[in-house]
Amino acid sequence: MMTIVFSLFLLTMLVIVAVAILRTDNLFTAVMLSGIFSLIMAANFFILDAADVALTEAVIGAGISTVLFLGALALTAEHDRSPPVGSWVPLLTPSALGGVIIFATFQAPRLGDPNAIVHKHVAPWYLEKTPELIDVPNVVTAVLASFRGYDTLGEVFVVFIACIGVMSLLGRVRPLRDSIEEGEFDKRTDNLRHHLLPRVVGKMLVPFIVLFGLYVQFHGDFGPGGGFQAGALIAAGVILYSLVEGGPRGRELVPEWFSSMLVALGAFTYTSVGVASMAMGGRFLDYSALSHDPVHGQHLGILIIEAGVGMTVAGVMITIFHAFSRRGIR
C-alpha cells in the first residue's frame, strides 16, 4: 500500500518535471530539471527493488550527465531558440505513439505478478542456479557478469566506442598551462578557488566519494553495485575536484593520457579474461576454467571483469569531462 502511494507520488512528480522541461526555454533550467527527473527516476527504481539500476541512475543521470550538460551549455547560448509554430504533425506523432503505448499497458501484467512471462522464462533458473554455480549473494551481479557476460562485454565496447566518437567530435586543444603564469592561470580558468566554502567542503568530500566508489566496486558481489556504478562514482569524485579547483588542475590530477588509457585498458582487461579462459581450456568468458574450483574461477572472473568495466566507465566519464572543460576555457 505504502509502495503504491509512493510510486504514484513519484510518477506524478515525474510527469510534472517532464512537462516543465518541455515548457521552459531556458536551457539551464532544463538541465537542472533533467537532473531532478533522474533523481526521481532513481527513487522509482529503488521502490521497484532495482537497487543497482537506481544507483546508476542517481550517479550518472543526476550527477555526471548534469555536469556534462552544463559543460556543453557553457559552449552555447543559454536560451532555446523559439521553435517553429503552426505545424500539427509534431503533436500528432507523439500522441499516436503515446496512445499505442497506453493501449499496450492494458495487456501488460500487473506489477509484481508472479505469473508474468518475464518471471517464467530464465529468471527462475538464474535464481535457482546462482548459489550453486557462482555463489554470490547478488544475483544481478551474477547475471550481469557471468551468465550474460557477452552482453556486458558488448556494453563496455559500446561505451568505449561512444567515447571515441565524442573525442573525435570535441577534438584536442592545446592545454593552457604552457603559455601563461600561475596567477594569470588562476584568473583565466573558471574555478571556485576564490570561494572558500565550496572549495574546502568539495575537496573534503572527494576522498570519501572515491572510497565509496571502491566499496561499490568490490562489494558488488554482495550488495547493489558493480563496475558501472563504481566507475561513475570515482569519475564523479574526480569531476568534483576539477569543478572546485578548475579544469587544468583536474587534468593534472588525472592526466588525459591516463584517463583515455584507462578506457582502453578496461575493455582490454575484460576481453583478456575471456581469452585467458579460452587458453585454460574453457570457452570464451567461461570463468569456471580460470581456477581448479569452478566456483572460485567464477569469483575471480567476476572480480576482474568488474574491475575492467569500472576502469572503462571511469575513464570515459573523466575523458569526456576533460574534453568539455578544456573547450570551455577559450
Binding site: 566554502l197 565550496p198 567542503v201 568539495g202 573534503m204 570519501f208
Partner: protein
C-alpha cells in the same frame, strides 16, 4: 526504556517533519529568491538532521545508526554549502533582493539599519524619521505583513488599472 526511545524518536521525527513542512511553506510564501532560499536551507538542514537522529534511535544496536550517522554528517556539510553556493551565485549574477521598502519596516525595531544594511538601500534618517512613537504600533503590524503583502498589493494595483482601462 524501549518506550522512552520510541517516544523520543517520534518527537524528533515529528519535529523534523514540521521543520521540512515549514521550509516548504516558506518557499511557497516568501516573496523573492533570498528569503525563499533562507526558508528552504535552514529548515532543510535542521529537519533532515532531526529526522535522521530520530531514525537512528529506531535503528537499535546495529550497523544502521552508523550508516545514518554517515548520511547525517554528509548532509550537515553539503546542504549548507550548497545553499551558500546558490546564494553566492545569485548575488554575483545580480539577483536583487526585494526586501526593501520605503519605511524600512522589515528591520527589527530599535536596531540601527546598519545591521541589515545589505538588505536595504534606505538611508538611516528616513527610517528613524518614520518611526515616531505613534507610528510604532502600525509599523510593527506592517512589518509582519509587509513581506507577504507586497506581491498581493501589486496584483491589486494591476487589476485596478485594468478595470480603469476597461471603463475608459
Amino acid at each position: 526504556m524501549e518506550l522512552l526511545l520510541d517516544i523520543a524518536s517520534a518527537v524528533l521525527l515529528l519535529t523534523g517533519g514540521f521543520f521540512v513542512f515549514v521550509g516548504g511553506f516558506g518557499v511557497m510564501r516568501m516573496p523573492e529568491f533570498f528569503t525563499r532560499m533562507h526558508a528552504a536551507s535552514l529548515t532543510d538542514t535542521g529537519g533532515a538532521a532531526l529526522i535522521l537522529v530520530g531514525l537512528m534511535l529506531q535503528g537499535g544496536l546495529t550497523l544502521v545508526p552508523l550508516k545514518l550517522a554517515a548520511i547525517f554528517l554528509f548532509l550537515f556539510l553539503t546542504s549548507p554549502t550548497a545553499s551558500y553556493a546558490l546564494a553566492n551565485a545569485a548575488l554575483l549574477s545580480g539577483v536583487k533582493t526585494a526586501c526593501r521598502n520605503e519605511t524600512g519596516t522589515q528591520l527589527p525595531e530599535n536596531k540601527p539599519v546598519a545591521a541589515g544594511s545589505n538588505l536595504t538601500t534606505t538611508p538611516v534618517s528616513k527610517v528613524s524619521a518614520s518611526k515616531t512613537d505613534t507610528d510604532k504600533a502600525v509599523a510593527k503590524k506592517t512589518a509582519k505583513k509587509a513581506v507577504a503583502r507586497k506581491p498581493a498589493k501589486k496584483a491589486v494595483k494591476k487589476t485596478a488599472k485594468k478595470a480603469a482601462r476597461k471603463k475608459s
